[in-house]
């Protein structure tokens, strides 16, 4: 019985970490139809900014996190304005090549600036400890991740489905010519959406750093995990990504408790089975 509870708790926490890292990519990929393989590089930039602000510049954690997210969004916006916007109309292969190249560039830049060591984001006292759940303890930081993940899911779904900006975004992607002639500021919408994707990546990089420590190869190391979550969840589907992340997180955690000798086999088997069952995403009908 304890094992089952453990699997549920650890699986949920792990799934939420996967979700906060992956949700930004799901949005850029699904809503902007832009194959952004440098997503994890943006996550890394966000994490490094936070680590730098908290550790080197001695900022307060709660101040440093929004600042790091804004910095990542700004980097995303600048890159979008300078180069990435020329790629929207190019073929997927061009987008893949360019963004992978961008990842390599950011890896090398990170390595040169901060060195190859793992970087930690020091947590404030309230988050550094553990919370007693009765039958076991759970790191307090995981509770923040679970809460933040649910908030991000709800917030992003609301913006895309209910706000004027969400309408503009969907219109701009579905038919940019018509949207433009209706007076929708296409360039602003594209740039802001990409920056928002980068900001979500940065947020995920910061929150996920406890499980996926920051180092230069972060940008490629966890890309597969993120792509799996996005593919299983369905591109652009926020609820789908959330469901996929939690299901895969629980499966991975269960295999660690019960059959660790099999490595990540069950995680990828589950991915294959879910994709075969619902190729367009877990919650798409």
């Amino acid at each position: 019985m304890t094992v089952l509870f453990n699997i549920a708790v650890d699986g949920l926490a792990y799934g939420m970490v996967l979700f906060v890292i992956a949700v930004g990519l799901s949005l850029t990929l699904g809503l902007m139809r832009f194959v952004n393989l440098s997503h994890c590089a943006f996550a890394m930039v966000g994490g490094y900014c936070a680590a730098f602000l908290v550790r080197q510049a001695q900022w307060n954690f709660w101040l440093a996190v929004p600042a790091a997210i804004i910095a990542t969004a700004a980097l995303g916006a600048v890159l979008e304005m300078l180069v990435l916007r020329h790629l929207y109309r190019r073929k997927e292969l061009d987008q893949v090549l360019f963004t992978i190249g961008l990842s390599f560039f950011l890896i090398a830049a990170t390595n040169a600036l901060a060195g190859p060591q793992v970087q930690l984001i020091p947590l404030p006292p309230g988050l550094a400890g553990s919370v007693d759940l009765g039958f076991r303890t759970l790191p307090a930081q995981r509770l923040l991740v679970i809460g933040a993940g649910l908030a991000v899911a709800a917030g992003a779904a609301w913006i895309v489905a209910r706000t004027r900006f969400g309408v503009w975004l969907r219109a701009a992607v579905d038919h940019s010519g018509t949207a433009s002639s209706l007076g929708i500021p296409i360039r602003v919408v594209q740039c802001a959406s990409f920056a928002a994707g980068a900001a979500l990546a940065g947020f995920g990089g910061i929150l996920g750093a406890e499980l996926m420590p920051l180092e230069p190869y972060y940008a490629l190391k966890y890309l597969v995990l993120v792509l799996v979550v996005v593919a299983v969840g369905g591109m652009g589907s926020i609820a789908g990504s959330l469901a996929a992340a939690v299901v895969l997180g629980v499966i991975e955690t269960a295999s660690k408790y019960l059959a660790s000798d099999w490595g990540s086999l069950f995680f990828f088997l589950a991915m294959a089975a879910l994709l075969a069952w619902r190729p367009d995403g877990l919650l798409k009908r």
Binding site: D10, A13, V118, S130, Q141
Partner: protein, 391 residues
């Protein structure tokens, strides 16, 4: 006319300059250093380079009275085919007298036939599988092996009345080696390994494994993890899930390596490891080593990789002295077999039979000294052979 007269003169001048340079180098001893200088393991290469150059600089730029030329070759990660190709080129084209370096066991094993045939003495700075030195008569190792540091740790644990231990190792070659070493020796001392957990190499969330360790009812966990993220993830999970508080001791080897140590912060305090080198080893030789390393490269860390390279250069120096700078592999190796010296890690010697370094292994505990985490040596287990070859 295809060439102007002036261009011809320039070309002649340039070629004579090249010839002169080649003649000057003909007098020098060439040492090829093979290791990862790019990619995720590039810090090993950087430490090899810093330590080797710091050593040569400390000897006034000459080893055994001869100029030395260090030639670096980059293997990236574990890549035996590439390592073999690079070493072949070093031996045949660059005509190196000595080889050094090697982080990964497969790379070292791949070059064994080449150095055997060409009689090129090769000093392994790091690659830690026991069997390597058996593969060629020209291997000497100044690093360590997992058996060498794990066996004394298992004996110590048994002496502390720890009867039940769970092993949790990363599921790849060195991890399995570590698991075998601990289980074997701990059983011999009358202890029980209650569970052996093998953690997939791609693991990011160590929480579940730590819960299993907690549930196993063991008094201690012996662990082996590769440096970097896995190391950090495991130690975080160990602390956050309150293992230390519930009385499960941490027993490790290279986990609190100086390269990662500062990143752990307070979470590393109190961790127990057995290892052959601590950057905080209290001796004049170590202080000189740390100072020389910092002078050469302020970013370099005094750890097992840099001390392995430093001592490796000492061994090469002694081999150059013994052969008068000529290439004579058998004579050089014969000299290396008898070496005995005071290393930054403590008193060491090259074991005449195995050509592996015999060194003191220490029990260490992480402490904060002036805001910096150090591996404080609390007990010496005395000189240890490579227990892996004794099996």
């Amino acid at each position: 006319m295809l060439f102007s007269r002036r261009a011809l003169v320039r070309a002649l001048a340039a070629s004579s300059f090249v010839l002169a340079a080649a003649q000057a180098h003909a007098q020098s001893v060439k040492i090829g250093i093979v290791g990862p200088f790019s990619g995720p393991f590039a810090h090993y290469g950087a430490l090899f380079k810093a330590a080797a150059e710091a050593y040569v600089a400390g000897q006034g730029g000459k080893l055994g009275g001869r100029e030395v030329e260090l030639i670096y070759r980059d293997t990236g990660g574990p890549n035996p085919a590439q390592a073999k190709g690079l070493v072949q080129e070093l031996i045949v084209k660059d005509k190196v007298d000595y080889l050094g370096g090697f982080v990964f066991t497969p790379n070292a094993l791949a070059v064994a036939p080449l150095i055997q045939q060409s009689q090129t003495p090769t000093v392994i700075f790091n690659a830690a599988t026991s069997a390597i030195t058996e593969k060629s008569d020209y291997f000497v190792r100044t690093g360590y092996t997992l058996w060498q540091v794990t066996v004394p740790l298992a004996r110590w644990a048994a002496k502390q009345h720890i009867a039940r231990v769970v092993t949790a190792v990363t599921d790849y070659g060195p991890g399995l080696d570590a698991e075998a070493a601990f289980k074997n020796e701990f059983a011999r001392q009358g202890g029980t390994v209650v569970e052996s957990i093998r953690m997939p190499i791609a693991t990011t969330d160590f929480g579940p494994f730590v819960q299993r360790i907690k549930a196993s009812g063991a008094q201690a966990v012996y662990t082996f993890l590769p440096g970097g993220p896995p190391n950090l993830g495991f130690i975080k999970a160990y602390n956050e899930n309150g293992l230390a508080r519930s009385g499960v001791r941490f027993l490790g080897t290279a986990e609190t390596d100086e390269f990662d140590l500062q990143k752990f912060g307070d979470s590393a305090v109190g961790l127990t490891t057995a290892f052959h080198y601590s950057g905080a080893h209290d001796s004049a030789a170590n202080k000189a080593f740390v100072a020389a390393l910092k002078k050469q490269d302020p970013g370099a860390v005094a750890n097992y990789a840099s001390v392995g390279a430093w001592d490796g250069m000492y061994v090469i120096q002694k081999m150059i002295e013994a052969t008068g700078g000529r290439k004579d592999g058998p004579k050089a190796i014969a000299a290396a077999r008898a070496l005995q010296w005071e290393s930054p890690r403590g008193p060491v010697r090259i074991d005449g039979k195995t050509r592996h370094i015999t060194q003191d292994v220490y029990l260490r505990q992480v402490e904060m000294v002036g805001g910096v985490a150090v591996n404080k040596e609390v007990e010496s287990f005395g000189p240890q052979l490579d227990h892996g070859l004794a099996q």
